[in-house]
């Protein structure tokens, strides 16, 4: 559990973080969302003391972070950034084993951990272990970056726009994989992004920040329904409901198929947002759902999507 209590940070008199109070529960993925310069990265970097807070305190599992030695604190917190910042003179396996080495793990243990992690992030162990970062594509490098952050199995992960530099397709893939990972690992994660869609898709909770202040904090659904703060509404934008559909997977809404009509197809692993877009593209109201090998599983109807919006987001009806 991470608790921010009245945290203030200013640079040359300009306030970057203004009396931030925020509690992030164990095992939760908390998104810090906001425009650039809103203080979200500053808040993130204060957790591992890369930036020192002016006043206020941060507690990890009830213990003030100032009670830890800087190095010890950081070695027990995973850290990943947008540019991946893999060390260019080290191989993939050396990059991943940095923190375990700092923690003085045994050689064999490090080796097996590296292999385990590469498998976890979906990279072939044998061919990737000896590669240098300049031989990796953007997506691969980011996977290694995630593996490196997870290396010493830290309880807490800090991720500063980790998937920001990727193209949309790679990005969606790595987001899905990361969510799958998180289901298994249950890390406490602070995840900074300015991308609404990403926030809606990934966050257990979203903390919306503006000008250093916490404007709103809650589950994506709560944030979506909020109408108190007009900034929140503006920021969420008109496409926020569509972004919400990112959270639902096609495979959970497949109905048995009894017609033999030829329909556009969609993979069972896609989100309902992609499903909905495909429907609009082809101007149809149902899609054929296929698995990876191309086997037909059934159909996805537009009713399923409307039902979700009706049932889960009742307020929408009241407004219209």
């Amino acid at each position: 559990m991470i608790v921010f209590k009245d945290v203030v940070k200013s640079y040359n008199g300009v306030i970057a973080v203004d009396k931030l109070n925020l509690t992030i529960e164990q095992g939760e993925l908390c998104i810090l969302l906001g425009l650039s310069g809103c203080g979200k990265s500053t808040s993130l970097n204060m957790v591992n003391k890369l930036i020192e807070a002016d006043s206020g305190s941060i507690y990890i599992n009830g213990k003030n972070i100032n009670e830890f030695k800087d190095e010890d604190l950081r070695r027990n917190i995973g850290y990943a950034v947008q540019s991946t910042a893999l060390f260019p003179h080290m191989t993939v396996s050396q990059n991943i084993s940095i923190v375990p080495k700092l923690l003085k793990w045994k050689k064999e243990k490090i080796q097996s951990r590296v292999e385990e992690l590469l498998e976890l992030v979906g990279l072939d162990v044998k061919s990737y272990m000896g590669k240098y970062p300049n031989q990796l594509s953007g997506g691969e490098a980011q996977r290694v970056g995630v593996a490196r952050a997870l290396a010493a199995d830290p309880e807490i992960l800090l991720m500063d726009e980790p998937f920001g530099a990727l193209d949309p397709i790679n990005r969606a893939n790595i987001q899905n994989e990361f969510l799958r990972l998180q289901e298994k690992l249950h890390k406490t994660i602070i995840f900074v992004t300015h991308d609404m869609g990403e926030a809606m898709k990934m966050g257990d909770k979203i903390a919306l920040m503006g000008k250093g202040k916490l404007l709103s904090y809650g589950t994506p659904k709560q944030l979506l329904m909020e109408d108190v703060n007009s900034f929140v509404k503006d920021f969420m934008g008109a496409d926020s409901y569509i972004n919400m559909l990112e959270r639902y997977l096609v495979k959970e809404y497949v109905l048995p198929d009894n017609s033999n009509k030829v329909l556009p197809t969609i993979s069972e692993k896609s989100s309902l947002k992609e499903g909905f877009s495909t429907m609009i593209n082809h101007s149809v109201d149902k899609l054929q759902v296929v698995d990876q090998s191309g086997k037909v599983l059934g159909v996805l109807r537009v009713d399923a999507i409307l039902n979700i919006l009706n049932e889960e987001y009742v307020r929408n009806e009241k407004i219209s």
Binding site: E71, R75, V81, F87, P88, H89, I98, L102, N134, R148
Partner: protein, 242 residues
Amino acid sequence: MKRYRKYIPVLILLLLFVFLVFNLNDMEPLIYEFFDIHLGNVGSYDIPKLTEQFLVVAFLSCFMSLVIGLSIGIFCLTDLGKEFLPVIDKLSMLMRSFPEIAMLRFVIPLLGLGVWPAVIALTVYGVLPIIYSTISGVNNINADILKVAEGMGMSKWQIVKNIQIPLATPVIISALRVSLISCIGGATLATSTGAEGLGVLLGAGQSTYNVVLIMEAAVLICLLSLATDKCLRILERKFTFN
């Protein structure tokens, strides 16, 4: 086989250099037949011996430049050294505008004659590019990389040792190349402090209008410069990862 192809030019240059060092003396009568310059008696010089003296001066001064330059460079990057950075910067700029031959003559009244005065004069000269490149090589490392290294829990010294020095290595090697070439060039002038070396051939050739002696020295020095330049370029590429 392909992996070793880049070493071939270096190998050829070095072999040629070694061959000439040990055979030029025997080849001299032949060369004089070709360059028919009637000089009467020509003094004979022991080329292997002169080359040895030359190499000692050149490499010793380069080695000292590297050690001293790296220490000063790293010192300038510490918190204490940052205060000295402008002074060292200006001073080294000033030193560089000092002609090499003047530097060599300058040390004679202070240190007398011999090998060491020459080495020290050349070190003062060769140390500058290494100080510069150590500082700029370390300062130009991507800020994100340093932030992540710190964020992962490396101590200051671990960052210097594991990240900053390895990443600055290519720049430092490139400066080492400049420094070594300058030391080799400077070592030809080292005769003036009594360090002898191949400069003796040049001096003797000049004062007796003997083209052959000058040529012998010039060819050897050229070959050595080219070979070391090539060697260090290969080394530089080995440490570059981007």
